[in-house]
């Protein structure tokens, strides 16, 4: 059952189209991330769901109710702001209990709910402090507490971790996952950090330029990016995307680019001769053995592996090797591309995926994902 639905939602600011043709069905209890580069319309989408911004057209539902004309306070949602937006003159306790007070929950009940929430978030010793007497992480928890305390239908979070340092962010990420598991509530989470999106979400909505690009579970977004933008956006280090051309016929496609010629397997019915692009994840590239000559450009040592950039003519590709290999920039090496692993896209910056479904040989999801989370800064 869909818990949150966007149907053909548009949001224009004057002539600028911040969100276009958005269709999104979020299931009850699901953790959904809105992921995309800065300015792609994530916050706008979330704010429309919160009722802080009104869609230019289209319909937004929470449960079975169309909420286009429902005030934010009546939507049964709670929101955690990027800036936390704690009331500075109120104590932590008053901040958390405020939504209850405004909803006329009586005092004894309020105290009980406040206590439960404070215990859950380990805020009990801080209840009498003012927000300015708290650290960033503590403020973040208070903001979370204010959202959790009244058990709303949907939680909205706008980059709640972006003001924290890397270590605390990792910690809070784990806490949020745990919290979501325990509460089982629908959560919509805005982030531009793909590591957060990949590790926390049931499904990720990847957006770009106000448009939804793909809405799928993290592994599917990684393994079967629906278009060239998603392919390039997801993954660290990123996928190398090579412009070239497809030739041949179904069952016997080849992909050619200057200095590269590979057999294109696993193409679907949409494949056609002509301009196309090929995406190669670092793990699809073997460096040191193979049949294609390349020049080594850069070696980044991260400790547990080396990130290696090689070039073939003008094409630069990123791969990874074990740390014991010793390379020096400028060296000539042989490389090969695993023919089962590349992704193919139609021409253009948002060119559609051409691979057949289901995806080519596994791409070893667990391997890819663990690499992703370890490598991210």
């Amino acid at each position: 059952m869909a818990d949150v639905t966007f149907s053909n939602v548009q949001k224009h600011f004057g002539a600028f189209r911040a969100v276009q043709d958005l269709n999104l069905d979020i299931r009850e209890g699901e953790f959904v991330s809105l992921l995309g580069p800065s300015g792609c319309g994530k916050t706008t989408t979330l704010r429309m769901l919160a009722g802080l911004e009104f869609p230019t057209s289209g319909e937004i539902r929470i449960g079975d109710r169309v909420v286009n004309d429902v005030a934010p306070g009546k939507r049964d949602i709670a929101m955690v702001f990027q800036s936390y937006a704690l009331y500075p003159h109120m104590t932590v306790g008053e901040n958390i209990a405020y939504p209850l007070k405004k909803r006329g929950v009586e005092k004894a009940e309020r105290a009980r709910m406040l206590k439960d929430t404070a215990d859950m978030l380990q805020l009990t010793p801080l209840l009498r402090r003012k927000p300015r007497e708290l650290s960033g992480g503590q403020q973040q928890r208070v903001a979370l507490g204010r959202a959790l305390v009244r058990d709303p239908k949907v939680f909205l979070l706008d980059e709640p971790l972006s003001n924290l340092d890397a270590k605390l962010r990792g910690h809070m990420r784990a806490e949020l996952i745990e919290l979501h598991r325990r509460l089982g509530r629908t959560m919509v989470y805005v982030t531009h950090d793909q590591l957060e999106a990949m590790t926390m979400s049931d499904r990720i909505a990847v957006m770009e330029g106000g448009k939804l690009q793909q809405f799928a579970p993290p592994q599917e977004v990684y393994r079967e990016p629906s278009n060239r933008f998603v392919a390039g956006f997801i993954g660290t280090p990123g996928m190398t995307i090579i412009d070239g051309a497809l030739s041949g016929s179904p069952g016997a496609w080849r992909f050619d680019a200057p200095g590269i010629s590979v057999e294109a397997r696993h193409l679907g019915p949409d494949a056609a001769e002509g301009a196309a692009s090929m995406g190669v994840r670092p793990e699809a590239l073997t460096i040191g053995t193979g049949d294609t000559p390349a020049t080594l450009r850069l070696v980044e040592q991260t400790g547990h592996e080396n990130i290696v950039v090689v070039s073939i003519g003008d094409i630069r590709m990123t791969g990874r090797t074990t740390p014991d290999k010793v390379w020096s920039p400028g060296e000539e090496v042989m490389i090969s591309i695993d023919p089962d692993m590349p992704h193919f896209f139609a021409d253009g910056p948002n060119g559609k995926r051409l691979n057949a479904k289901p995806s080519p040989r596994g791409n070893e999801p667990s391997h890819s994902l663990s690499n992703l989370s370890e490598v991210s800064p």
């Binding site: 802080l52 934010p72 306070g73 929101m79 702001f81 800036s83 937006a85 009331y87 003159h89 405004k102």
Partner: protein, 299 residues
């Protein structure tokens, strides 16, 4: 204190500091300390203003002042005027600031227009108001009679309590823009996210005002109230020009009384005594203000 010998540079800086602060100190002494001391000194004499000749009377001026009805009546009028006009200034100022803070289309025009009363000179403002208030040809009476609200022209400035009310209203009109500017500046620094959070938490417009806006305005309001209280308390020109303290002495505040003693009754010594007492009363406000601003800074 460590008695480490000062380096050349430190001594140099100390001298420089002294040199930089000296002009201010000298001017301060000339325009504030000297008049203050001489006022206190004069208040101990009985002086005939035109000749400035006088004889030592000690504290007699103060004794007379505290036992005369004039002082207490002026103090009463002064307090009514200050509290009345200040309250109106704050209420109108905050209200107008809230309106101007909204996204209304004529906002920038309105923002500049609203400053008009504050910038127009008191003399001009009083002339305009006297004309509006005039009982024979004033537009106020004319409009009210045309609208059928009143049958007879109202004497706004020549009768009580009309005169005091009129003075208070004109004072509020003249000085509320100051409150508007200060409050508006503060309003603009309140993050939108606080209001949005409050809306999501279920707070209506009234609750948002009392739970978000007002607490944020508290500090600036305290400072405004202190400053305006001091300024209103010693207001002279507006009241003097509008009613001259009349009818009889029913709008006569302490500053007007000082003026009357000094230049109408030619009692410079007595006038100085009034001025000194006034200063003592304002000292209370001033101490409150200084303490308050200090604690705000310290917070």
């Amino acid at each position: 204190m460590a008695t480490r010998p000062k380096t050349l540079l430190e001594r140099h800086y100390a001298l420089l500091g002294l040199a930089l602060i000296a002009p201010t100190v000298l001017v301060f002494c000339a325009v504030i300390v000297y008049p203050l001391i001489s006022a206190i000194y004069l208040s101990l004499f009985s002086i005939f203003t035109p000749t400035l000749e006088g004889e030592w009377v000690g504290l007699a001026n103060y004794r007379e002042l505290l036992t005369s009805g004039d002082f207490w009546s002026a103090l009463r009028v002064n307090l009514i005027w200050t509290i009345g006009t200040l309250t109106l200034q704050i209420v109108a100022g905050v209200g107008m600031a809230l309106i101007l803070h909204q996204n209304i289309w004529f906002r920038s025009l309105a923002r500049s227009l609203i400053l008009f009363p504050y910038f127009v000179s008191t003399v001009v403002a009083v002339l305009v108001w006297k004309w509006l208030f005039n009982d024979l040809y004033g537009i106020l009476n004319h409009l009210m009679m045309t609208a059928g609200i009143i049958d007879w022209p109202i004497d706004y400035l020549g009768m009580m309590p009309n005169a005091l009310i009129s003075v208070i209203l004109v004072g509020a009109w003249k000085y509320f823009p100051f409150v508007v500017i200060a409050v508006l500046a503060r309003l603009q620094t309140i993050p939108d996210a606080l209001y949005e959070a409050a809306r999501i938490d279920g707070a209506g417009p009234v609750a948002r005002f009392f739970d978000v806006t007002l607490p944020q305005l508290r500090d600036v309001l305290v400072v405004i109230i202190m400053l305006r209280a001091i300024w209103d308390f010693k207001e002279f020109d507006l009241i003097f020009l509008l009613t001259g303290g009349g009818p009889v002495n029913s709008t006569e505040t302490l500053p007007l009384l000082v003026y009357k003693e000094a230049f109408a009754l030619n009692q410079m010594g007595m006038a100085s005594a009034y001025a000194v007492v006034m200063m003592l009363i304002m000292l209370v406000f001033m101490i409150l203000y200084v303490r308050r601003t200090r604690s705000v800074d310290g917070a």
